[in-house]
């Protein structure tokens, strides 16, 4: 420590920021804050609220599938939208329900909760920086979320309250391109596209910020291979976002210009995705020369990497938490990093597997099939390494650990069902059936959300200085886990039975009639799961006031963030951190020399201890 004086750390520029020392009003401190921790918490609270919105939409979808054309609770009676129909919703409304469920969950919950909330909160803390590289940009990235939420909100009612955007979150042209194609393809679809663009802008600002911060603002000694896996995953996610998202933004602009005549009183509009001679709803044949498949390619060029954007940060955080809860170093740190990088790299060249039935060139299909198969490999490596991490650990069976273990267990299911989809001939049968729905819910809910639940509890003490109630979290975990499997596991079987997605009433078809009881069981499970989330929200809110006071390092973890006060003040660290070792030296001889089973990355080597070798291999 003698050789490194605080002023030599990478923190000398704290004073450069305009917000350095002057008095802060409530507004500048908590609303338009440029402090990454406040922004992270803002993201977290916003996304948890949006989670409930998305969940409510999902429950409505499930209601229709269990009790088709029955009286829809709340929407039918309370809002009175379908009063004349006796509360029976319309098929357009159903298409809106699943479209908005997906849009809200993907764009307003999963992506912002991982990158926005935890990325913001953890990146500077874990690399030992006092804030993000561009704090104002960071604030803007949060405040661009609200116009996006507003646009999505307007889209619900822009074409009338019963015809929200209903073209699926994938918004394939021409359904999403020609305003005459469906009641929901008018103004609602345009507002939806604006919302998508704004979310994109928000994410892009975030990702440039994260990359710059991680590359250039690490504390002394924090080499690349001493970064926690959370940081690695955030870094790789930011790269994916930065290079894939602009393509979707560009495609979004192309779609908006195609739709210009439905937006403005003009008949000028581009024709990127519109072929000539298409007759929709007895309207005049289109003039054009574009190709609808182009949208699918551009869309999936982003949206497949987006799947990893929605998963990688959770993988990183779970690795951190598993190591801490098992008091063991992460098994195979470098293979974990390389496999994440491989997922990102391969993630760019597998988008075509969403289009195996779309009429793509079979040669392209074969290429995409092989690359998609290969992306299962790094995922498998990660699973084996997680099990290796748990193996022979001194496991703390708290809710954080349980959620992490559930992450591993359920990710296995999601990963394995993906192999069916990677295989083109089998996927031809499963494409757009409930098998797909089961698959991505196991990945996005089973894996990502369980990871998020764990992360919320794990970093809650650092955010608010208090701990969440573990018993309540265990109940929440158990109910969610049971409800989740009860809802989504049978979907595999529905898919095998050939039940297509996005059907308002599958029982119209004879071969699906007998599946109604199974759907009813799933809906009941979903309701249990939905209501279990109130436990999380309640625990989150009440612990803020009544939770046990937490010290700096309640979990006995190693990361730099645990050397800061809880909650950290402005500028994060009271002593500028210097990093001496990797983040996972639990139960190491070095730690034992100090009489404990963890050793903070900032602790200098204990007196009298001689490091035998560098452990990071």
């Amino acid at each position: 420590m003698a050789t490194v004086t605080p002023s030599l750390g990478a923190h000398g520029h704290a004073d450069d920021h305009a917000h350095g020392h002057h008095e802060q009003t409530f507004i500048s401190k908590y609303v338009f804050s440029i402090d990454h921790k406040v922004i992270g918490i803002q993201f977290l609270v916003t996304t948890l609220l949006m989670l409930m919105v998305g969940g409510a939409l999902a429950l409505a979808v499930r209601w229709q599938l269990a009790f088709p054309w029955g009286s829809m609770p709340i929407v039918g009676k309370l809002f009175g939208l379908f009063q004349t129909e006796g509360g029976q919703i319309s098929p357009e409304f159903y298409t809106m329900l699943f479209t908005m469920h997906a849009s809200v969950m993907i764009f307003l919950v999963i992506i912002p909760v991982l990158a926005g909330a935890f990325g913001n909160f953890l990146i500077p803390l874990q690399i030992g920086a006092d804030d993000m590289a561009f704090p104002v940009l960071n604030m803007l990235s949060y405040w661009f979320m609200w116009p996006a939420i507003a646009c999505f909100g307007i889209s619900f009612v822009a074409s009338g309250a019963t015809a929200g955007p209903g073209n699926g979150w994938t918004s394939y042209p021409l359904l999403s391109d020609l305003a005459d194609a469906a009641p929901s393809s008018g103004a609602a679809q345009t507002w939806w596209l604006f919302g998508l663009t704004l979310v994109g802008v928000s994410s892009m600002m975030g990702s440039v910020n994260y990359m710059t911060t991680i590359i250039n603002m690490r504390a002394p000694g924090m080499t690349l291979f001493r970064m926690p896996l959370t940081i690695w995953s955030m870094f790789i996610t930011a790269i994916l976002q930065a290079f894939a998202l602009p393509v979707l933004t560009a495609a979004g602009f192309m779609l908006v210009f195609d739709r210009l005549s439905s937006l403005l009183p003009t008949d000028v509009h581009s024709v990127f995705f519109i072929p000539a001679g298409i007759v929709v709803n007895n309207a005049a044949p289109t003039i054009g020369g574009g190709q609808p498949l182009l949208w699918q390619h551009l869309f999936w060029f982003y949206s497949h990497p987006a799947v990893y954007i929605m998963l990688l940060p959770a993988m990183g955080m779970v690795s951190d938490m598993l190591a801490c809860m098992c008091r063991k170093p992460v098994f195979g740190y470098k293979p974990m990093v390389y496999s994440m990088a491989a997922i990102a790299g391969l993630g760019f060249i597998v988008w075509g597997h969403h289009m195996f039935t779309s009429g793509m060139n079979p040669a392209l299909g074969m290429t995409f099939m092989t690359s998609t198969m290969m992306i299962a490999l790094p995922s498998a490596i990660k699973v084996f390494n997680w099990i290796g991490t748990i193996w022979d650990g001194n496991i703390k069976f708290n809710a954080v650990f349980l959620n992490c273990a559930a992450f591993v267990a359920l990710f296995v299911v999601g990963g394995l069902s993906g192999i069916f989809m990677a295989a083109v001939p089998v996927d031809i049968y499963f494409h757009d059936t409930y098998f797909i729905v089961a698959h991505f819910h196991y990945v996005l809910f089973g894996a990502t959300l369980f990871g998020v639940f764990a992360a919320v509890q794990f970093w809650y003490p650092k955010m608010f200085g208090r701990e969440m109630n573990d018993t309540v979290q265990k109940w929440h975990f158990a109910l969610t886990f049971i409800g989740m499997n009860g809802t989504f596991f049978p979907m595999h079987l529905l898919g095998i039975a050939g039940m297509p997605r996005r059907y308002a009433d599958p029982y119209l078809h004879g071969y699906l009639e007998h599946l109604l009881p199974m759907n009813q069981f799933m809906t009941i499970s979903a309701i249990i799961m939905g209501f279990a989330q109130f436990l999380l929200l309640g625990n989150f809110a009440l612990s803020f006031f009544f939770g046990k006071k937490a010290g700096r390092n309640p979990w006995g973890a190693n990361g730099l963030e645990w050397s800061a006060p809880s909650p950290p003040g402005h500028g994060n660290f009271d002593v500028p951190p210097v990093c001496y070792r990797g983040p996972y030296e639990y139960s190491s001889p070095e730690a034992e020399a100090m009489g404990q089973d963890f050793i903070l990355q900032t602790s200098p080597p204990p007196a009298g201890y001689k490091a035998s070798s560098n452990h990071g291999h």
């Binding site: 990478a10 603002m217 210009f257 581009s270 990127f272 007895n282 020369g289």
Partner: protein, 350 residues
């Protein structure tokens, strides 16, 4: 824009300021943004069974494009020397160079506007271009309808008769026919009525010709006529003269148009608004790509100009604190130049 003051030994990361690193990363995202546009353009063009290349169709002017390329290169050069002057603490010189850049940027946008205007005047805009003779005929009809309506609206301005819908036009026609030398209708100013009496025969003739053409189209190529409101259809029914119209060919329409434009009584109305819309196969997708790519490039030019304006606004207060800012704005500007370097051959030459 903070950058660290830490000694290199303890500074982790790479030896460039955060602002520059962030800007380069941002340029990476911009590259992908334009990749999507340019890539789509390439594959759409290769995938099309045709593509308009004749300057007569596309109104592409290689010379203007070349001049614009030159303008951007000069401006890029000026930015570089402005930054060098800044680095040598010669701020006055830097300001002069930057002013030059700004002027050239305006020049670029000016030339661009001239190009856009030319295209818009000839209706080379996406969604408007006829791709078959049939569509060309319907387009003549639509354009003539606009002219006819405009004529009739002029007469009824401030008057009692509103001609928003086609059957109102019919009403006006009936009115004209009914009172050749009577009193002005209620609410119509006297001077309007006088002018209207003088030009009424020409207008009626124009109206008759348009209606004739329109009926030909409805009878023969109903495929391409846009959905019409019920009352419009009803009005057309009532005007129907014969029961079957002869087949109408594109060249006949063209001849008709020529003849109408030559007519001294109403030709001036027609020539003012109605073009010869010859079919351009795949013209719409061409125009879509052209306007999308050059449009987004122009937006980037404007953003760059805003960045330079911020520097110039400092006036004589410009000092070395702005060197990094100018360097980064310059990098952005060179990127904008780079995009144009590729757009120019792709859109103007190939």
């Amino acid at each position: 824009m903070s950058h660290t003051a830490a000694p290199p030994a303890l500074k982790m990361g790479i030896p460039i300021p955060n602002s520059k690193l962030g800007l380069w990363l941002f340029l990476g995202t911009e590259i992908m943004f334009f990749t999507a546009f340019i890539g789509s353009y390439i594959v759409l063009r290769l995938g099309s069974q045709g593509w308009p290349v004749d300057p007569k169709d596309t109104h592409i002017n290689v010379l203007l494009g070349g001049v614009n390329t030159f303008v951007l290169i000069v401006s890029s050069y000026l930015v570089v020397v402005a930054h060098e002057a800044m680095a040598q603490k010669n701020f006055g010189k830097a300001r002069t160079y930057l002013t030059g850049t700004m002027i050239l940027a305006f020049l670029f946008l000016g030339i661009k506007s001239v190009e856009y205007l030319g295209k818009i005047q000839h209706d080379i805009v996406p969604g408007h271009i006829a791709e078959t003779p049939t569509q060309a005929i319907s387009k003549v009809s639509r354009e003539m309808e606009v002219v006819v309506r405009k004529r009739f609206r002029e007469y009824t301005d401030g008057g009692a008769v509103v001609t928003e819908r086609p059957n109102d036009i019919v009403n006006v026609v009936n009115l004209i026919a009914a009172i050749p030398d009577g009193k002005p209708p209620e609410g119509m100013p006297d001077y309007v009525f006088r002018e209207y009496q003088a030009t009424a025969p020409g207008d009626l003739e124009l109206f008759r010709k348009w209606m004739n053409l329109h009926q030909h189209i409805v009878a023969n190529v109903s495929l391409t006529v846009p959905a019409l409101p019920a009352e419009y259809l009803a009005a057309r029914e009532s005007l129907k003269q014969g029961d079957k119209f002869p087949e109408l060919k594109y060249e006949e329409v063209k001849d008709l148009l020529k003849e109408m434009k030559a007519n001294e009584q109403y030709g001036s109305y027609v020539s003012a608004g109605v073009f010869d819309p010859h079919p351009i196969v795949y013209g719409n997708i061409f125009a879509s790509c052209y306007f999308l790519m050059t449009g987004f490039h122009a937006i980037h030019v404007i953003v760059g100009m805003i960045l330079f304006a911020v520097v110039l606004k400092q006036g004589s207060g410009l000092d070395e604190k702005w060197t990094d800012f100018l360097e980064n704005s310059g990098l952005y500007w060179h990127f904008v130049d780079l995009v144009w370097i590729f757009l120019f051959p792709m859109l103007y030459i190939i």
